[in-house]
Symmetry: C3
Subunit: 487 residues, 3 copies
């Protein structure tokens, strides 16, 4: 028994080997070839992107090409695309020596995930019953980007501590879970969540936090010297922050209803974000000696208003309602960075590199609750009859649903998102603990040297010192492994 335990421990704790020369290309090739085959079997253009569009126009009395959904949604799509690749990517460049990994792995898993998302979401939402094939158009590629966002949020908790192969596994399962969760929330429960407070942010954040909890690294402080920022890496991160902040109105309005739906979603998000900025600066200044602002807060908590408007942005939440949401979220999120993240790391063994609990989890839950309340209190006097039906899609089998019932379903949707995030994260976390994924050792975290050819900087003289500290770290690690295996 003791032998077995020792053996197990040896299996789980053996010296880390972050060589991904076989595993990364293997996963990439196998996967990409599988994608090509599956797309060949299942994915076709929809009627608006197919060359038969001109015939479709005649049949449906569409008078102008401008009625093609492309022109309603393409500008928003491009903004969302920027958020996914530059926004999330550069937000994660803040670490002094993990900028390549931050922006580079974000690039890899987003490009990887969006293909799988087109398939998974397609099977659930865009399957043409006539021929059993997925018909894709502009809305599908926006949704694929949204789906990827969930996994990129999860990456935020794990930044610097996982290998690219682990990230691909995380993404593969994350997209799958997302598509199922989204189907249950949006279609089974008929919940409205255009900007994804529940579907994207709550799910993604709890998925990542649970994985981070399972991959807890007790000796992570061996990498402490690389876990902070330098001056210019903080400026790089501001590029990510600002593109996320500016384009969040497009995120929340991208797949909202044509016309007033998109229009209102953009305005509400714009207002909530502005209020978040003000309260973030306030709390950040209030919490520090001499009122000095902390870049971590400015880079992250300013965005919380956008997260929290994900559900309610398309509702008639009113302009001051949006400001109140942003006001609260800036406070909650900054407070999270000051108090909750250190607490979680110390007492709950959750290491959350980017603080996604503060930026996505709490504001996401808050936004879901706001959405449920806003939906429950909707009325014909505010929306007009037609407006109410359109906004909540009270049509077909849902024609009898009342706003109050809708509020209840919205709340149920939040529970589904939480459950999928936590249970899914637990399962995937255990898979990621398998010892062959090539993750770095505790003293090698937050370091691009592990997975990247890093140029020698003439400008930084003390690489010798740094290198030595690494060697020392490695020796210690080997010795600790030796001890474990002896026991």
């Amino acid at each position: 028994m003791g032998n077995f335990a020792a053996c197990c421990r040896g299996f789980w704790c053996k010296a880390k080997n972050p060589d991904v020369r076989v595993s990364l290309p293997a996963v990439c090739f196998v996967w990409q070839i599988a994608m090509i085959i599956l797309f060949g079997l299942f994915v076709r253009y929809d009627e608006e992107s197919d060359a038969h569009w001109s015939e479709h126009k005649h049949e449906n009395n569409i008078t102008s090409d401008i009625e093609n959904d492309f022109y309603y949604r393409y500008p928003s799509f491009q903004d969302v695309h920027v958020m996914i690749f530059v926004g999330f990517g550069f937000l994660m460049t803040f670490l002094k020596r993990y900028s390549f990994g931050g922006v580079g792995f974000n690039f890899l898993i987003a490009a990887f995930g969006l293909q799988w998302a087109l398939l998974m979401q397609g099977w659930f939402h865009s399957l043409d019953p006539a021929d059993g094939q997925i018909k894709i158009g502009i809305e599908n590629i926006i949704n694929a980007d949204f789906c990827v966002a969930g996994c990129l949020i999860a990456y935020g908790a794990l930044l610097g501590k996982v290998s690219p192969v682990q990230l691909m596994v995380l993404t593969l399962f994350g997209i799958t879970l997302f598509a199922v969760e989204e189907y249950i929330i949006l279609h089974v429960l008929h919940v409205r969540d255009a900007g994804g407070s529940m579907v994207i942010h709550t799910f993604g954040a709890y998925y990542g936090l649970t994985i981070s909890w399972i991959l807890y690294r007790p000796k992570l402080n061996q990498s402490k010297n690389l876990s902070g920022s330098v001056y210019h890496s903080d400026v790089f991160a501001m590029i990510g922050t600002l593109f996320l902040w500016m384009f969040w109105p497009s995120f929340n309005s991208a797949i909202a209803d044509h016309g007033d739906g998109q229009h209102r979603a953009a305005i509400n998000t714009y207002l909530a974000l502005a209020a978040s900025v003000i309260t973030t600066f306030a709390i950040s200044s209030l919490s520090a000696k001499r009122g000095k602002l902390d870049m971590v807060h400015i880079q992250n908590a300013t965005l919380a208003g956008g997260v929290a408007m994900g559900t309610a942005a398309e509702f008639m939440i009113t302009t001051y309602g949006s400001l109140i949401v942003g006001f609260c979220c800036g406070i909650i999120s900054t407070f999270g960075y000051l108090v909750i993240t250190p607490f979680m790391e110390k007492y709950m063994k959750i290491q959350d590199t980017c603080g996604i609990h503060n930026l996505h989890a709490m504001p996401g839950v808050f936004g879901a609750v706001v959405g449920a309340i806003t939906a429950a209190t909707a009325s014909e006097s505010v929306y007009g009859h037609e407006g109410l039906v359109n906004t909540f899609d009270f049509k077909g089998e849902y024609a009898e649903r009342t706003p109050a019932m809708q509020g209840g379903f919205q709340a149920a949707g939040l529970c589904v998102a939480l459950a999928f995030g936590i249970v899914g994260g637990a399962i995937v976390g255990f898979i990621l603990r398998l010892p062959f994924w090539g993750d770095p050792s505790d003293d090698n975290c937050f370091d691009d040297e592990v997975y990247w050819e890093v140029p020698e900087d003439e400008e930084s003289l003390p690489p010798i010192l740094e290198y030595n500290s690494h060697m020392v770290g490695k020796n210690t690690d080997m010795m600790s492994n030796f001890t474990v295996e002896q026991s």
Copy 2:
């Protein structure tokens, strides 16, 4: 009497205390709560962003959602939004140790200002007489961004020398003045200024320059070691430059007339900007030993063509007219950096950190003059009857106005902008001289250490030296204060 003078001097000149731990959060909270209350009382969705849009469509025989103003203006709005936050923000990161302040305070005051702008501009332009409430839509949030731009321009003159609390006061008054000035120019005088050569640039620049003149710091050269750039900070600033440059056609066309108005404004601005680049490179090279180019010119003067097309972009200024405007402005603006800024600093006691006099003031005035001339020479043969009426909005009570009269009113508009900038700046400047705003001492300017937690750079070894020089600076300052108080 001598006592009183000494007391006064003591009051105005007492040792600076840049601690904003109480004042910054207090202003943020009070202000944000006031905004929520005022929005609750006054701001509602307009007919295109309200859920009653579907009913509005029926009533007005609008056949398609694509006719919602959102689809005419949202892409331009997002471009303008990028200019405000990334464009202005990163343009101000060029200082070697004030990048956090450049991009961060820009973020704060833009998010702060746009809320106040929605209210102030709403009261003047979008008040619904039926219920006394402001109805907002996409055009209002573009205008709010425009309004904020005026204050960000003013910030350019003061970069590195003021506290965030001062910036918020500057913004609060700036937005207020802007809204009044804009009302007088656009509504009372019925002047056309879609891209704001007068309303935004001339006003903003003279507002900032006047404040800078009143806040003159005779001992600013104590911060001389931080008043320049480093290699990478200049590259960061180019991000700002390029996003401003690329999206300026959207800026000048964002609120122009639907159809040919927006189309022509974009093309004219595109051309003027291209010509500015060429003459900026020419003058920059001509002025230096061995023809070496100066990044300051490239970062700023290349944009002058966009500023100068703010008024005339939507007119039939012709394509070569646009090129001529850009040609002249590139020369004027670069010349300003070479000659006028040093002159103003030395002889007129105006310290203009970003050179807004060259980028906004001179090209703005130039653009207003160009606009007046273009308007005065407009004719039905060039515009067509309907085109002339639409372009200059010669409708209703203005149906009798001739192009020549319009030219005169355009010139009058410039005077209003100048007057508001200078007089408003003088008043606000004196308010900002009050000694409790937390501005830095003369030897502490251009330094993020004052208001930000700055990460320690391993890469830069000599912080000890730097720190010492600060200490020396501080001692000198205290001594000089001591002397003043004794007298």
Copy 3:
């Protein structure tokens, strides 16, 4: 005879003088004034950007301003604009001490080239036979940006080795050649190439490579210490990469047909780019010790899928077809960086700083072939009758053309692009070898000090050493000149 040869060699090899104080301003001024005159003579607004638009609407029964082409294409135009200035510009900031030159000269020649492109393309494509004038609108300014892209690609091969004056000459001839080549391919041969695999990428790349071959610098390794990147310059380059990658769907769809054409082009490009990323990471990891990724590959080869979809994006290439194209191009392009670029430098005397052969030449040719095959295999069953006619523009004098014939013409188009690139490049290369263009000496390449006022970096201490190595380099150079002249 020996005397003449020595004299010639002396003429061609005399000590380089990179002083552009006279030549750069002279070219800029002469050229910009010429542009103003030519625009005055030839360029007018088209019917959609002219103030007569409202009359045009009545005459053509256009019911809404939204039918103005501006609203179909402006969002794509802005994305293309970002690719040209930020995308290409920042992609070229990767060198440790040539970021100013990378982004700055890119800015100069793009602004310079687009004016000339409007004229040259206008004469060939947009000449109004009624009055002999060029009528420009949104599509023209997109095409001008496209045209400039060809020259910026060529700049990639020469980065760090040429003077700004040489770049302007290169651009002047490049735009001219481009316009003729494009006219032959698109109009004479009636070939489809919306995203320019042939017209832009193949032409631009071979134009640049041929020039680089003629300007071969045998002693370029004297600048070896500056030919690499540093940590932060690689992150800056990722800004360029990502904006190119994200907006490539806009590039390929910007001038595609309204409706399904633009819609499909965007989707196909989106998919091909995603697949490129996966195979680029795979090959990059596979090729290095311990699977370490190389930033050069990630920055460049990930984009190859977009290049290769330039021709076929608007066709019914199918979604899996797009993935296959991206799959192949990621492999080809990364392989190029690993094997072909070093081979070309060593054995073919082609020094290709940015590896444009891998990013533009090979994927461009590949894309042209893919386009020819896709066109040749098109059928009415896939496109529908009307769809086939619209997609390939089988109208008027081309009404009888079959898909198979179209495939042949597409292949002919590729040959034209190659011929123009290589022959044009050879001619321009010899012009650029003239000794008065101010290019840097072999030991001065990749160094911003030559053409820019570079701020002193406090952070980098060893400029003294660097300066010395320059001096040594210069001495050697002078001595070798001396030897040559003596012989």
